[in-house]
Symmetry: C2
Subunit: 319 residues, 2 copies
């Protein structure tokens, strides 16, 4: 049995700035707690203010250090910052190492910075199910900015773009040039490209490479956002004025032409769909234990029917 | 418009052993062709004979060479073999390099060996949607054995177990010991463990490690299958008699206690569910373009409602 939760007290405390209440609400999200429905309903009127920034890049590009430098830049503007480190790669362990690593750094004691790591634990749909709700918690808790950082493994790099208003893609010289970025699908998703470790050999070549690959894409048409490519040395906090400027410009561009609202509506639509699918799937599970799907599955194994016909029967039973 | 397909002629040709017909049918699966429904219905009475063997392991363990040696072993028994190489890691490119690599090897000209590579292209649910149908094609085409090989990246290693009757996990000395296997979740899914490159230093330590980790799990209870650990040198086809013996024993064990049928029924249930979800999702998409979901999503963005309440309304509209 799940422990009963005083949702309105918890939401009030989170809105008043209690890190403990924020942490508890995100735990409810992680646990898919039955009270979530009530939590989300209570948070709804208070959400929609935070600027969600996705940060992605392969291991080794300096993601953690860059996040740290970005947090400092937002804090210098006296903004409240949330950081959500998501590890979608590990279906079994719950450990999101990255988050723990960040936790140790400069902002651990700053009450205006919420840091949280989350394992998405191989839920179908990866990031799509739990992450938006954790973001909504941080948003409603008064964060001006939320940085979502993923451990960049394969698809999660691309998925983070679906969660963010602005996606920052980190690269490093010699780690991957434009063609590798293209293969990983990150050229399409980056709103701002950052070449970190720019004091190393090959940084300018990487910048040229990325610019060239962007120019080959379909993002050069008038009115489209042309992603800037910025050089940084995160370990020395070098170049972050330029990163902030690029992010500000992207926000201004999105606000000027309705893209921001469009992205958010599309995202909310994806979230609604994911929750609806989950609810339909759970009804299917009920059918299944009631031997509905199982009997059909046995017929498929015996060659009495095919999976499409069986699926039609399941859908008919649900609808 | 999809090109019209003469399904019964195609299915007949595939059953008569035409590699071209088999290839065309699998392409229909990859393309989610409208004729698939008719194809699966025509294949249903002819499926359920093939033994599906999943082969998984990290890059560098010698998966391709081992598959090759296994194919030779099954061919020595005059069995017809299908090989499906799945690359679920690449959402954008359709290239399944592994398959091409295999294609170049020993069995390319053997008419009793079907080789096919497939990109699962980041479909939601990864392998779960297209792969079972491709397997059904190879099964109905008279394959006695189908080897499903995944490019081992994160979750796909675990997912392949959901598709197979017998899952063979490959390891190599120094690549990963028992603890790494445990972290990757592959201890739970392996029915047979193969330590390849066993002529290298550390092979015996890796075998001991894996045996030890297995003994710590819950698989030592009486009546449960205790996965054997076999050493091979795939480049010299060494050790494959033992691998075949381990696989044979696993099949005999599964047949003796109903596990084989149980696994297949569970798999068919998953497949039915995946198709049903897809159909419900497409109805949702229709709602969405009819502004149903989109209007709700806008309300969520405006804080007028929360995603759970919106999802309830979507489910109500569908059911």
């Amino acid at each position: 049995m799940a422990r009963p939760v005083d949702v309105s007290a918890l939401v009030e405390a989170a809105r008043a700035g209690s890190p403990r209440a924020v942490a508890r609400l995100i735990s409810l999200v992680e646990d898919a707690h039955p009270a979530l429905r009530e939590v989300m309903s209570a948070l709804a009127p208070h959400s929609g203010r935070a600027h969600i920034i996705g940060i992605t890049g392969s291991p080794g590009v300096g993601k953690s250090t860059s996040t740290n430098a970005l947090v400092a830049a937002f804090r210098a503007r006296e903004q409240r910052v949330g950081i959500l480190a998501v590890d979608p790669s590990s279906p079994f362990s719950g450990g999101a190492l990255l988050g723990d690593r960040i936790r140790m750094q400069d902002h651990a004691l700053d009450p205006e910075v919420y840091i949280r790591s989350m394992a998405s634990r191989g839920h179908l749909g990866g990031l799509s199910w739990t992450t938006p709700q954790a973001l909504r918690v941080l948003d409603a808790a008064g964060c001006d900015v939320v940085l979502v950082e993923t451990v960049g493994v394969g698809q999660s790099e691309v998925e983070v773009a679906g969660l963010a208003d602005t996606t920052v893609v980190l690269l490093a010289p010699g780690m991957g040039d434009g063609i590798q970025a293209a293969k990983a699908g990150i050229l399409e998703i980056g709103d701002v490209f950052v070449v970190n470790k720019a004091d190393r050999d090959g940084a300018d070549a990487t910048v040229r490479d990325i610019r060239h690959m962007i120019s080959l894409g379909d993002r050069t048409e008038p009115g489209l956002w042309r992603p800037p490519v910025v050089k940084t040395v995160a370990s020395q906090s070098d170049g972050f004025d330029e990163v902030m400027e690029a992010i500000d410009k992207h926000v201004a561009w999105m606000e000027s032409n309705g893209t921001l609202r469009e992205r958010r509506v599309r995202r909310a639509g994806d979230e609604i769909e994911a929750i609806a699918i989950r609810s339909l799937r759970s009804r299917m599970g009920d059918l299944r234990h009631g031997e509905g799907v199982e009997a059909l599955a046995a017929d498929v194994v015996d060659g009495q029917t095919d999976p499409y016909t069986a699926a039609d029967q399941v859908v008919d039973a649900l609808t």
